[in-house]
């Protein structure tokens, strides 16, 4: 009887031991440090390089444009901010790596009628939020930038 129990306990211990070894081998490093996940995954998620550099990065070279953009316009005794609260990258999406390629291949804005219409075309959901333009009626043969400087569009 004692021998049987000894065998049983021994095989049980061996089973537990093997299980723990396998578990230790399969559990990745840093798993469970903060919770039921791999703590190193936080660093993996941090590692990606940002594409949008932020306004400060743009202003460090293009200060003149940045200042022009930040100006307010007075009209009818009211101050209008117009595009001054827009960030550079709202319109100039980083299609290139600006740090190295800005001077070699400056990004071009295409088809500004469509681009401006993205915000300014008539839509009931934009009511009272933004200046809306009827794109099918307002100087249809012209491009917006011919009359409006997007860095400081005037109002009339």
């Amino acid at each position: 009887m004692g021998k049987l129990i000894f065998r049983l306990v021994l095989s049980f211990l061996v089973f537990v031991g093997v299980f723990m070894l396998i578990q230790d081998y399969l559990t990745p490093e840093s798993f469970g440090k903060y919770g039921h996940y791999r703590a190193n995954s936080l660093d993996d998620n941090k590692k990606i390089i940002p594409q949008f550099k932020g306004e400060d990065a743009c202003a460090s070279c293009h200060e003149d444009i940045y200042e022009k953009k930040s100006e307010t316009v007075s009209f009818d005794d009211d101050e209008y901010i117009l595009h001054s609260n827009l960030k550079c990258e709202t319109c100039h999406s980083p299609k290139i790596d600006a740090r190295t390629e800005c001077k070699i291949k400056p990004p071009k804005l295409e088809s500004t009628r469509k681009m401006c219409g993205q915000c300014h075309s008539i839509n009931a959901s934009r009511k009272n939020k933004i200046k809306m333009i009827d794109m099918s009626d307002h100087n249809t043969e012209k491009n917006c930038v011919e009359c409006h400087n997007p860095h400081n569009p005037w109002i009339e």
């Binding site: 990745p28 798993f31 469970g32 903060y34 919770g35 039921h36 996940y37 791999r38 995954s41 936080l42 993996d44 998620n45 941090k46 590692k47 990606i48 390089i49 940002p50 594409q51 949008f52 932020g54 609260n85 827009l86 960030k87 990258e89 709202t90 999406s93 980083p94 299609k95 469509k114 219409g117 993205q118 915000c119 075309s121 008539i122 839509n123 009931a124 959901s125 934009r126 009511k127 939020k129 933004i130």
Partner: protein
Amino acid sequence: MDRINKNRRKFFQTSAALVGGTVFYSLIKPFEAKAVEANQTELDPELPLWGMGVDIEKCIGCGKCAEACKVENKVPAEPFYFRTWVEQYTIKKDGEVKIESPNGAIGGLEQSVENEDIFKSFNVPKLCNHCTKAPCVQACPVGATYVSPDGVVLVDESYCIGCRYCIQACPYGARYIHPEKQVVDKCTFCYHRINEGLLPACVEVCPTEARIFGDLRDKSSKLVKFMQKNPTQVLKPHLNTHSRVFYNGLSSEVK
């Protein structure tokens, strides 16, 4: 006589086993609580607690946020994959609600309902709500998705097995399977950006400041000020997900 004695002995044995078992269980109980605790969300009170405010009254549905998100996070360009998108709600005068989001609003939303039929119309930006009690985290069988110590629901790409349970579990439809990596992908509040002191890409490009990002623990942050000034709500509060994307001007039609 003999039989009664045996029964009595059995009774004492059973009683002793019950009492002993109860005492033993109460002794190991604290350890059990600890084991359960280890599987739950642990927020670090020393770290920021990230959240986002969305001002529906300001959103114009230009789709710049959805566009920027795809560029920043290399989300596939096809119109089925989004980390964030904008929905246009149009309520007609006859009460019908029309919800559209062609290509997630990339390229700008257009109104498809005649002006005279519109009762009201508004745009609702959607994204991962970064729930404190995230159903997706509970559903993940391998611990590949989790709430980070600073309160962002993240995915461990190298550990995800692509089983799609979390996609089913998410009440906000914020997850998709990345077609090349074959693992789940979702909004991370641009975790790589916020840890460098930058704003998430969608917040950075929003022309009307309809998205506000900040630290909920910092009482002087933009987000906290936004929440003090406006009555904010979360989406699907009845699900008790304790999400951290707060909407101002949320109509009951929004699902």
